[in-house]
Structure formats: structure tokens, C-alpha cells
């Protein structure tokens, strides 16, 4: 009998990665990568990757599924606009990030001429327009629809605001020839988050418009489908691993840290309800599967801001190095975004930078707890998710794979006495995505969830038993 295989491709900004999965044993049987060639013809890079994969197989099998995600050509670049920054704008932001988008900017209240110019100049792939609860404020979303209608924007607009204003806003935009997709309000009632329909709309616009607009559809014939932006695939993979599938248990609540060259992403699959008694939860409800993106915390493109935030001395101290050496390595990293550390000293600095990025990104993602003193005693107020009891913490991204101490970097996401107000994981099992397969799990989960789950459960590496102390630069 013949084994069946799945081909899972990620068109990254720099590399096109290929993973071939044996669907019976649920293991990766071959991996390859080739430079992404989205600027010329994206299929060139894919063809090269396939040849490299073929060298491992002898002859390429007939793949049962051939699926891809993409963050090439700048990823899915979105603008989100709402009314109040902490309410509908925040809900729209969460919808966009949860759909795997890269938010270039967000706007609140009325768009002024300068805002519209900035939107036109940044040439987003999608604009998500929200504002007003259902039956609430409709003036602002209508005015913003008018401003966008009269502008030179060419991208689709997703309407996810006050439903009472939906028809009129849609008319305003379509009359001026804009493409509009109308969906449910991201905040139908005060403090009620409803981002699933907007996420779904973003995904369908990605499939219907963006894949073609970015020239990714050239791979038609070589693949079945380019399904989603890569971050959305990673989030789906995380969700499947947390939840399990049809009686097969997953890991339960988990947090996933994805450190990249330009951003550090944190995903949590957990409701984040209070774990202590008598805690009052405030603020906008949290999405169960939540993704935050720290655009200022990247190990290559934004490495300078990491150093700015925690200081060169702290990085040097944590790397067991000197400020001069940190400066030298930093320059080398900034000059070449593809640079993988080669010396012990470079590795130590890279690890220290990654730890600093993970520390900040995790703290920004997790909720916080604050004690306030009321007339009848102290009360605890929680904002955001309580992740203190989650069972699993997963690290993914190049730095974890290259580092000699991935556990040390991942531990930077844990609760610590230096930030007692932060509801960070306390004692989770640490897992490493050594083979970079979370995106593959996410893609495969759409066609063969059982196999995708097995693949993830079997392939992530346990880190808890590894050494935890800092680096020895001389090693």
C-alpha cells in the first residue's frame, strides 16, 4: 500500500520553506528551503525548493495535500480604524492581528486629511473600518467611509462597525468604486468582543484578492491552495495543539512565543480567567486565541530598540560580554538581517537580545493584577489574561533553533519577582519547535486535523531538563 504525503509550504519574506509530512506516521520526512522570489516570480523559488525536496525523496511523491501560507511581499498589511482607542479600535486591532495581519497603523475617531494621506501612502492590503456599538455612534464610521471613498485607496475595505450604519457606509464606498466586504460589528455591545466574523472576512479577502494582488497565485498548479497568512497558520497550529481533536487530547492552555527578525509575536490559547479568588476583571474581554505583535522587538531589523529599552549594559551583563562587544555584534546583525551568529560571543549576544525581546513581548501580552485600596479593604483588579497557570510554553523562530540555550531564552517569558504584577506563566512545560513546523500543523489542520495534531504532539522537543544557567561565552 502506498503512503500518502502532504506538502506544506511557507512563503516567507526571505525564504520559502517546504515540509513534507508522512500522513501515516505523522512525521516530517523531508524539509527544504530556497530563497523567496516574490519580486520576480514566486514560483521560481518554490521550484528550486521542490527540487531540493526531490533530492531527498528520489522521486517526489504525489502529494495528497499541497498547502501554503504566506508572509511574503510584506505580509498581509492592514490598517485598522475605530472610534474610541480602547474600545472599537482595540477590537479591530485584535481582529486584524488574530487574522495574521501586520498592522501598519491604527486610527481612532474621525480620519483627518493627513490620516487619509498616510493611509494612501502606506498602500495597505486591507482596511478594517469599525466604530460604534450596534445602534450606537454612526456619524464617525460614515464620515470615515466618506473620507476613504473620496481617497485614492485601491484596497478592499472591510466594514465591521455599527450595523445600523452598515448599508449606508457600504453604499458610500461602492458608489466610488471601492471594494467592500461588510460583516458583523467587532463590538456589537459595549465591552462585548465579536472578532470572529471580521477575522473570517479578512481571511476571505486574503484568498479572493490579496493572493492575486501579490502575485502569489502564480504557484497555481504547483500547489492546491495558499490558505492564509503565516501568522494565522501558526495561531491555528497552536490552537489545534492546545485543544486536541476528537477525543485526542491536546496540551491544554498554552502560550507560544515567536521571535523573528522584525517582530516578536506572542500567541496565547487560553481564556485567561482569574486563578485567584475575589479578583475583579476589568477592560475589554480577551479573545481565547490571542496574538500580539511587538513591531519594535525584532532580532535584526529592530535590534536597536531592544537595546534602547533595556540598555547596552544589561545586554552585555546578560551575555557575559562587554558593551563594546555588544555594539560590534549589533552592527553586524543590523548590516545583515540574515546573519546567523557564528562565534560564541555572537551567540551570547544574540541570546541576550532574544531574552530581552521575549521578556518585554510576554509581559505586554499577559494581563496584569493590581491591588487597589477601597473603603472596605483591598481589592484585586485584573486587566487582560491571567496566564499564570498555563501548562505549556512553546518557542518558535530561528533564534531558538540556533541557540545553545533555547530554554534560557524561553524562560524569559516566565513570571518573575521583578514584575509581580504581571500574570505570566509560572511553571509551564517548555517546548521547542525545532523543525519549524507550527505553520505546517496549522495548514494541515484544515485538511487532516488528526494527522496535524499527531505531527505537532510528536515533533515538539521538551526543554525542561536542559541546563538553565546563563551562557559561558568561552564555551
Amino acid at each position: 500500500m502506498s503512503t500518502s504525503y502532504a506538502l506544506l509550504v511557507d512563503f516567507g519574506s526571505t525564504y520559502t520553506k517546504l515540509r513534507a509530512v508522512d500522513l501515516e506516521v505523522c512525521r516530517i520526512v523531508a524539509s527544504a528551503q530556497a530563497p523567496s522570489t516574490v519580486d520576480s516570480d514566486i514560483s521560481t523559488g518554490l521550484a528550486l525548493g521542490l527540487r531540493r525536496l526531490e533530492e531527498q525523496f528520489g522521486t517526489l511523491p504525489n502529494f495528497k495535500h499541497r498547502l501554503a501560507s504566506s508572509s511574503a511581499a510584506g505580509g498581509l498589511r492592514m490598517i485598522a480604524a475605530g472610534l474610541v482607542r480602547d474600545l472599537t479600535t482595540e477590537a479591530a486591532r485584535r481582529a486584524a492581528l488574530g487574522a495574521g495581519a501586520k498592522l501598519t497603523e491604527t486610527f481612532s475617531h474621525r480620519l483627518i486629511a493627513d490620516d487619509v494621506r498616510r493611509i494612501v501612502d502606506s498602500a495597505p492590503d486591507i482596511i478594517l473600518l469599525a466604530g460604534g456599538t450596534d445602534g450606537g455612534n454612526s456619524d464617525v464610521i460614515l464620515e470615515n467611509a466618506r473620507a476613504l471613498a473620496m481617497s485614492d485607496i485601491g484596497c478592499p475595505v472591510i466594514l465591521a462597525g455599527n450595523r445600523v450604519a452598515r448599508d449606508e457606509a457600504q453604499d458610500i464606498l461602492t458608489t466610488q468604486g471601492k471594494t467592500v466586504v461588510a460583516t458583523e460589528n467587532v463590538m456589537p455591545e459595549m465591552n462585548v468582543l465579536n472578532i470572529e466574523p471580521a477575522r473570517e472576512a479578512i481571511r476571505s479577502v486574503f484568498l479572493d484578492h490579496i493572493v492575486r494582488a501579490k502575485g502569489i497565485d502564480r504557484v497555481q498548479g504547483m500547489l492546491d491552495e495558499v490558505l492564509m497568512p503565516t501568522p494565522a497558520a501558526v495561531l491555528s497550529g497552536g490552537r489545534l495543539l492546545a485543544e486536541g481533536y476528537r477525543g485526542k487530547d491536546g496540551f491544554g492552555d498554552l502560550v507560544l512565543v515567536d521571535v523573528g527578525g522584525a517582530t516578536t509575536d506572542v500567541h496565547s490559547i487560553a481564556h485567561g480567567a482569574p486563578t485567584r479568588d475575589g479578583v475583579i476583571v476589568q477592560g475589554l474581554p480577551e479573545p481565547y486565541d490571542k496574538r500580539t505583535v511587538e513591531g519594535d522587538l525584532g532580532l535584526r531589523h529592530n535590534v536597536a530598540t531592544i537595546v534602547e529599552q533595556c540598555g547596552a549594559e544589561a545586554i552585555a551583563h546578560s551575555a557575559g560580554s562587554t558593551v563594546q562587544e555588544v555594539g560590534r555584534v549589533l552592527t553586524a546583525f543590523q548590516e545583515n538581517a540574515e546573519r546567523v551568529p557564528t562565534t560564541a560571543s555572537e551567540r551570547a549576544v544574540d541570546d541576550a537580545l532574544a531574552s530581552a525581546a521575549v521578556t518585554s513581548a510576554a509581559a505586554r501580552h499577559a494581563g496584569s493584577i493590581e491591588t487597589i485600596y477601597t473603603a472596605n479593604g483591598a481589592a484585586s483588579v485584573q486587566r487582560g489574561k491571567d496566564l499564570s497557570e498555563i501548562g505549556v510554553l512553546v518557542g518558535t523562530g530561528g533564534v531558538f533553533v540556533h541557540s545553545r540555550n533555547p530554554a534560557g531564552i524561553l524562560r524569559a517569558a516566565l513570571a518573575s519577582s521583578t514584575r509581580p504584577d504581571s500574570l505570566l506563566p509560572r511553571n509551564p512545560t517548555l517546548l521547542l519547535d525545532q523543525a519549524y513546523l507550527l505553520y505546517a500543523c496549522g495548514l494541515l489542520s484544515t485538511k487532516a486535523p488528526e494527522a496535524a495534531l499527531e505531527l505537532g504532539l510528536r515533533s515538539l522537543t521538551h526543554l525542561n531538563n536542559e541546563s538553565t544557567h546563563g551562557h559561558n561565552p568561552a564555551a
Binding site: V84, L87, G131, G136, M190, I280, A375
Partner: protein, 146 residues
Amino acid sequence: MTGETLITGVIGSDTHIVGNRILSMALEKAGFSVIALGALTPADDFIKAAIETDADAILVSSLYGQGELDCQGFRDLCIEAGLNEILLYVGGNLVVGKHPWPGVERRFLDMGFDRAFPPATRTDDVVEALTRDFEARRGRAGKAEP
């Protein structure tokens, strides 16, 4: 009843929710659309909710004696946020200690609240005041009731 939208909540570091909840239920029963923000609500949050929901009135409760501090500048916040016409009520144990009500009421009216209510106000009285105030506003705006 025309179903105006009302924001209710207990302002500041105040956890006394029961009276506010009873009031919110009574207002809802009277036909208003009520957005109840609950206990421990910062002044900002009342304003933000009023903007998104295009609310017609904000009803602030305070029971722990710090109401005067917490409500300082509340009307100004509304004006800054573009809520020029919004109706503002405040009620509860607004100050610490025994003070004659008229003086307390004066202080809150001077702060820009349209009405202030003493402890032990009946919910019916609030409904009646709202109805009257909304009617007066409709009259002022020259809009006939449908």
C-alpha cells in the same frame, strides 16, 4: 418611552455594586437601553462607553464618600470628548460625614451634573426625572415625540 441609551456605573475605587445594579435593572424595566459598567469604573470609562454607544445620559453612582474627588472635572471630560449635550446624573453617599443635602447637591450641580440624588432615592424618582429631562430636551430641539 423612547428607549434612550444610558450609561450606569460606580465611579472610582468603589466596590458597592448592589444599589447600582438595582437601579440599572429598574431603568431597563422602564424601557431605557442600559449599559451597566459596574463597580470600580474610572471616569474615563464612562466617557468612552458614552461615545461608542452614542449615549443620551450618564448616571454615576458613588457610595464610599470619595465621590467629590472622583467626579471632579467629569463635565469637562465630556465636553473634551465631544459629548456636549449629554445628561449627567450623580447619586449615592456622595460625601463623608453628615452634611445637609442641599449643600452637597449644590456642589455637584456646580461641577456640571444636571441632577444629584441623595441616599435612599427610589428608582421611580430617577425614572421620572429622566423622562422629564428627556422630554424637555426633545421640546428644546423642536422634535415632536413619535
